[in-house]
Subunit: 258 residues, 4 copies
């Protein structure tokens, strides 16, 4: 039965919005938390959505992990992209099933995973990274979420060139995107998308200059904010602390200069 | 050749960030703008990304429309969802290829189109709407973007019940989401997702009370802001006017009460 | 009696949050609005806070204008500072009764008026402006609000030097604040305040470099946002449109390099 | 000489934006920090703005504390108001030299201090508080900043009535502002200001209902955000963490119902 936890399943145990535990269920296994122990055997056979009691009597929900739950738990040698920014990129660069995307740098593979999950089953992600260790971690992360077959990981410096042609989008999360503009122009097909994610406006300005020189058009710069609320029935209100900055997102479309 | 404009193509002519024209190319056709006339025949055969000169000498870029460009031009009897909010919903409700989603109300079909484009090719969207006229417009809109086959449009009041079972997500953009909580619980599978988009916190609070009574968990309330920049190479800065409010997004997962 | 409208009073007639009319009451006068005519004579003798009916039956409240209501109606050859930014400057540059402040440029005199109103009765504002026409308008504006005696208006280019010494703060709203850093250092007393308000981060960055070279410390850069709500008793929610950008505020304190 | 540190002065020693130390200079005194020791005697006689070296060689700036620096260091039995919100209140409720203001609750006296500093020398603040301990702390705090003579502290429940008449503004930072609306109407003169600061929209909604019943007009609800930047010359960018919520500010003006 598909709706029931089985040995080998990856399961998210949810105590509250902040405390969530991702486990791979195996007979005899145990999860130790500050709020008590949960035996894997007690979960096996439970329908998803069920409640399980820990050894100290605290209630945990048994949930199917989302892609973003997995990503949250990725081994992370680098800062990973936030869902708010990934969602923005997908919508504005028109990524969908079948898209062919070049990405750099791979980092921990967080954005790679999001892109791969969306371009399935017929699209593909080509992901460039210069750091071998990052690439190894990304590979493990992508394997865990079952998305590796939609990704080609490349140990290569994207500022030296892009091998692929006729791609739908080139998406950069790296310090010097302006060095990739010309390569992106060659790799993109038609009015395809250039996207760059950067923490400073200086990087954005430099890249805009290059984009204009190379004939790109419909240039757009945006920041996305997420304001979370404290879910209290009698006093619903925004949380005191908020993420005030992740990065600026720069979009442009490839144009053919006359 | 696929990268070249052909008769019958839908093309986006881009003058600048604010002035974009969506046309269906037909021999003999003309686009009249405040910045001059463009003859469709002059575009046919051009590669996407090219520049075309209007009768008054203004330059327009020839682009392939994105899904959000089509949606922007949807016939709109109702307010449509913003990409920033749609992207958030996709990421946090884990919508992807193969997802089975219930949506209400259909409205102009904007969110329907985004969801359909993502669940392709194996998923499906069941969309409820009580207003027959809205449904007719949504049907036309979805046909135009080639997504109708992934959607079942239903002239039906979702507060009276949901016919589908084992769905991955129930996504509501309607005034009384609290009346749908119980139906969503029956329709969702496992730890599936309830999502509601609403302009006021009152609606959110009422719905949270119901969600708790019905055993939902991992409740999250969030607002998403988009801050656009003025793309001026010498003076990159945020635009003066910004959209300060669209709505609050409420997420919850189905739980099984003990 | 002080609480009653008298001939010669300046009165704010308030229809709603967007439509407010500032008049100087004179016997025989009339205010013509899209919502009817109001005769000044009908207001004379009314207590502040009263309601007056226009010729078409619409109700207006009779209010004492605030300083920011006057400023809102200033003759405005230039963009004026927003109260949110002026309030921030007052708090963080520690402006209070008795402060001695240098300001440039005067512009319409909006920030000048706010500063003057706060430093009263023993402080003073020295305001530099290179545009003679702006200075004339500012003078009229300051006279109207009764604050001119706390201000010295100077037709002078502040980038060429500041005449005053031992001032508490130098506050700049002009395009090239970095050219004033050295002059500010000479004009300020002790650990006094340098403040600059600018629309782009480029300007801020350039000024920071100069501030560091000149030994300033405790440098702080901030943006202030105001999110207004639609005051509807059944559906209190943020307004759709919001001011997304006015400017960045840069604060620093004068230091003595070793 | 006034620009030089003297025994008995209150001095702010600034290491960086986060680490600031407020001391009262006394001969023989020492400040112990994680970055070494500073002897008070070494500061005495230094001009404000000077740099002093700690025992471990770290440099601190010698600054005159601002009012908000004192407030930051207030003994704080309660949450204190942020400068961004205090600045907004001063601007929109038209507080200035000479204003007569009623405030409740006093709490730690932070807003009381800001108001007192602005209404000087001819205005006055009447501050109500039901908690005796808070009132004692507030008194000490106000004494330290030399503002106690502009304040009357009252151990009294403001929901039971306001003693003062003809006041310019009633400013509330307490959980049940709607219980004070009627008292505020009696205490305010003319078209005077009602202000309430509250963490939830529920409180705001309830108070708006009361304000309307009592004839108040020009009702305004606003949130103020402050986005701070990381002052790095090569990479100026917003800080990652931001205060996402303090409270909503509600303004209204007293009207005379017909």
């Amino acid at each position: 039965m598909s709706g029931v936890v089985k040995e080998g399943d990856q399961v998210l145990l949810v105590l509250d919005w902040r405390r969530k535990y991702l486990i791979k269920v195996k007979s005899g296994g145990e999860l130790h938390t500050h709020k008590g122990v949960i035996r894997h055997d007690d979960i096996i056979g439970m329908p998803y959505g069920s409640v399980i009691k820990s050894s100290t009597g605290r209630l945990f929900h048994v949930a199917k992990p989302r892609l973003i739950d997995f990503i949250e738990k990725f081994s992370r040698p680098t800062q990973i992209i936030y869902p708010k920014d990934a969602g923005q990129i997908i919508m504005y660069a028109d990524i969908g099933p079948g898209s062919k995307v070049v990405e750099a740098g791979t980092g921990s593979g967080a954005l790679t995973a999001v892109l791969a999950s969306i371009v399935r089953p017929d699209g593909h992600v080509y992901s460039y990274e210069v750091n071998e260790r990052f690439l190894r971690e990304a590979k493990k992360n992508l394997e865990r979420v079952g998305l590796l077959s939609y990704v080609t990981l490349k140990l290569k410096d994207v500022t030296l060139g892009i091998d692929e042609r006729d791609v739908d989008a080139v998406i950069l999360d790296m310090p010097t995107p302006w060095l990739v503009v010309e390569h992106a122009r060659n790799a993109l097909k038609g009015s395809g998308f250039f996207v760059s994610f950067n923490p400073t406006l200086n990087q954005v300005s430099k890249t805009i200059v290059k984009l204009r020189e190379s004939g790109f058009f419909d240039i757009r710069v945006v920041e996305v904010f997420e304001r979370e609320y404290q879910v209290d029935p009698v006093a619903l209100r925004p949380r005191t602390l908020m993420i005030g900055h992740t990065g600026y997102i720069l979009f442009a479309r490839r144009g053919i200069s006359q």
